[in-house]
């Protein structure tokens, strides 16, 4: 049986753009993050809309060249994210929730960029080279042209996977469905195998390349309803 270690050894080489699913303190793919750290990768580019333990653990381990996020926090502020932004090391690319979503939509459609209605009049285009002010070619109306962000691999942690490989999420899917369509390779870890019920599946197996059982694989973040956050584990990051 192929292990998570073997899958990531192949899917996430040095310099890879690795996208983490979940959001805030929910369903962060921490089992995969820990394997990635064990592999000792260098120059990783890490992307997540709303980061927490994933970003903090990877920054703490070193080997990260760049972080893309619209926000990172733990139960309070996230110290390594703050330090990176204040020192510029490693590089942080600031997104909004919407522009990050748009960049993945562009990636899922194979587009170089996609227009987005928000973000104009903000400081984001000045600090994020993926965002450029442009005008709609039909009407001339100003838009933000958001360049595609194409993850080499998306790491997702879900509640269950059935024997056919469909993924099930209880509650908040966050951006995982879009990440699965945008990334070149999709690695799913899951709490337990579940009965097949395709109408309920959150992510079809057609978007999933690898699925590996990893109970408690989101800790110290929560995987509702299986378990809440582990506050001590968050402090120990």
């Amino acid at each position: 049986m192929t292990t998570l270690h073997d899958i990531l050894a192949e899917a996430a080489p040095d310099g890879a753009l690795v996208a983490c699913g979940g959001g805030e303190l929910r369903r962060k793919p921490m089992a995969a993050v820990r394997e990635l750290i064990a592999l000792g990768r260098r120059d990783l580019r890490v992307a997540t809309m709303l980061g927490s333990a994933d970003v903090e653990a990877l920054l703490g381990a070193g080997g990260v060249a760049e972080v893309h996020a619209a926000g990172v926090a733990l139960e309070g502020l996230a110290p390594r994210w703050r330090e990176a932004r204040q020192t510029g090391e490693p590089r942080v690319v600031e997104w909004s929730e919407g522009t990050f979503t748009a960049a993945l939509q562009a990636a899922s459609l194979g587009l170089d960029s996609i227009p987005w209605p928000a973000g104009l009049g903000t400081d984001l285009p000045a600090v994020n080279p993926w965002l450029k002010e442009a005008s709609d070619p039909h009407t001339g109306r100003p838009v933000l042209a958001v360049r595609a962000l194409v993850p080499d691999v998306a790491l997702l942690h879900v509640n269950g996977v059935d024997e056919e490989g469909n993924a099930y999420v209880d509650g908040d899917l966050v951006l995982d469905g879009l990440l699965a369509r945008a990334a070149r390779r999709v690695v799913v870890t899951y709490e337990r195998q579940v009965e097949s019920d395709p109408a309920r599946a959150a992510i079809s197996r057609i978007w999933i390349d690898d699925a590996v059982e990893a109970p408690e694989g989101a800790l110290p973040t929560a995987c509702p309803p299986a378990y809440p956050i582990d506050a001590e584990g968050l402090r120990a990051l």
Binding site: G71, Q86, E94, A118, T122, D172, L173
Partner: protein
Amino acid sequence: MIADLLTGTLAEELAAAPIRVFVPTTPATAVAARAARLLGNERLALAEGFTALAGPQRDWATDVFTLLRRGLLGVAVAPVQLDAAGRTNLSGIGPPGRPRVALVGPRGLPENNDTPCPLWYLLAQHSPRTLVERVDIVCGPAPSPTAGPRTLLSPAGCFDLVDGRWVARWLAPGGGELIEGAPGFAIEVAVGVPERATPSAAAIAALAAVDPGGTRRAEFGE
């Protein structure tokens, strides 16, 4: 009590707003939304955080942007800075790209500050650190003329953004002094602006019904 005044006022506003979904960002805003259902907006749906709708909605994280553009989503936010033109900041203090004090990040402020939706800024303090002439990092752009109503609720009172200027709708007791204490954040206070110390009796009853333990008070330091 400021918590009841501001939470109750927000509940009244949400009850009257033409929105289908509300995004609570703090416990008090969630209480206000549940109270708004009792005050007449019975079908108001509540999101869990910014990314999930309570109930069987799957693609919420992308639907939220559609609702924002169509004016159907209400949001109450507490930015780190709010300025005289209605810009917001949640990213940090200092220059963009290299803040002296980095905070969470822009989150959804670029998406929700200039939309046809109503938007409330709910602040526990009327502080010159938060209410400034110009934000350090522009996360939420200044609302354009087509934006929906922008309302600030603070311990100083209730203020509307009208043609790019903040105008007092009513003042809380002692509100005038609080406004003077944040001089960078200009507010027009017309002669005879009413003072308000409590929300309506119906709002007070709705708060008591949905939040008997008073969880709304913690974020106002009460």
